[in-house]
Symmetry: C2
Subunit: 248 residues, 2 copies
């Protein structure tokens, strides 16, 4: 029911270059696709699904797929799906227009310095959404928010958090009045952090941490106290613990 | 420099059946392999590495690989490596003898009810190691601790935390005197939890949560307060926030 060129098109969306060119991204699996459809955060461009799955859906969800729904066979799905948990459906959505400017007033803002692992980034977006964080500011080298693994790990939080890619050093310098905390391995214990709700939390790259210039632009270095022997914490875990500490 | 049967052997270790049969597991990449070698937590059985990488190592690390080191070529490494970040080396280690019984006295113990995602489980082990948790008790259906993705995500914490697979319902009933907290979406806010260092924290399956019987055996249900809109938190993130709250 679909052509070789369609398969090629969907496969091409694994690459940032083509996601940027077509201004779309891919989501897979019943839970994620239906949540994105119902959220109205993104415009649906195409849905490729098994008849057996569509038959069991609420009418409202089926309606939200029209006129973009194509029924395909198992063997066709296999050609475009990348996750074993993602059976039944693969969908293409339009990207959102990036927000041009964000305010840090009266809220906590997350800054990411070169997060590379898509699973980590997706989990950070999901966790930020849990804690009501509105904005995540990313260095230009942070992994693409529309990378398929990022999209899968966000669990539909993707549309509820603004993600801005920029020169974070310059951005931090522009936001002078807001207290900035850098998550490092040699800072003040997290619970002694002089936080208010209005602050900026900086999380670094998985292996290199936060770059020197960026650390220097922070007001305080903070650390999650280590009681055992692990060398470090996963970046998404560190971000989550700090967001919990700031909001409680 | 190595045979087809060696390639087949290493590839077979992607499957639990063969890891159990040979009582070994695979680790990939310079950082993980050298940390496991130096930790002495596991006996090394075989190391397959590129000459260029071995040339740059400390003599002590090279010595720790002997007599198990085989130098291989790039194209050979490609046949046995599963991670793009895992260039340079693939190693086989012997599993540890499982601990027969553990004590929950004067410490925090983590119980996992059917965690399925290997990345989540590895991250939980790494986080437990950071917070000095000695023991993790897992339901029989929890993903195998020697699954290659678990091993990679633990970042060498694997040897420093005891992982016990058992009937957790029975185990919880046997540990009567210790206060048990179940992480759920409808419990008491985490910061109001009546915790002491001596307690048991129960984390549930990624999609189904904690099974009904297990929840009923807990003393208190606890929840990480939600301020935004995400439906849930990642299981490893939830475990990390609770371990932080208990230990601070």
């Amino acid at each position: 029911m679909f052509s070789k060129s369609t398969i090629k098109y969907i496969q091409s969306l694994q690459h940032k270059k083509f996601r940027d060119e077509y201004n779309v991204f891919v989501a897979e699996g019943p839970k994620l696709v239906t949540e994105l459809l119902l959220s109205n955060d993104f415009s649906v461009k195409a849905v490729f699904a098994l008849q057996s799955w569509v038959d069991g859906l609420d009418a409202a969800i089926v309606a939200s797929m029209q006129p973009c729904l194509t029924i395909i066979k198992d063997f066709e799905l296999e050609k475009i799906a990348h996750y074993t948990t993602a059976n039944n459906v693969v969908a293409v959505f339009g990207k959102r227009k990036p927000v041009s400017s964000i305010s840090c007033k009266n809220k906590t803002t997350l800054v990411l310095d070169d997060i590379q692992d898509p699973g980590n980034f997706g989990t950070i977006i999901r966790t930020a959404d849990w804690f009501g964080i509105e904005n995540i500011i990313c260095s230009a080298n942070t992994v693409d928010m529309y990378n398929p693994k990022v999209v899968q790990s966000t669990m539909a939080s993707l549309g509820r958090v603004n993600v801005v890619y920029t020169d974070i050093l310059q951005w931090l310098q522009e936001n002078k009045g807001i207290k900035k905390f850098a998550a490092t391995l040699n800072g003040k214990p997290l619970k002694e952090m002089s936080s208010t709700k209005e602050c900026i939390i900086i999380i670094g790259n998985e292996s290199k941490g936060i770059s020197k210039d960026v650390i220097e632009s922070a007001d305080e270095k903070i650390t999650i106290p280590k009681l055992g022997k692990a060398e470090s914490l996963n970046a998404a875990v560190a971000a989550a613990i700090i967001l919990y500490a700031v909001s409680n």
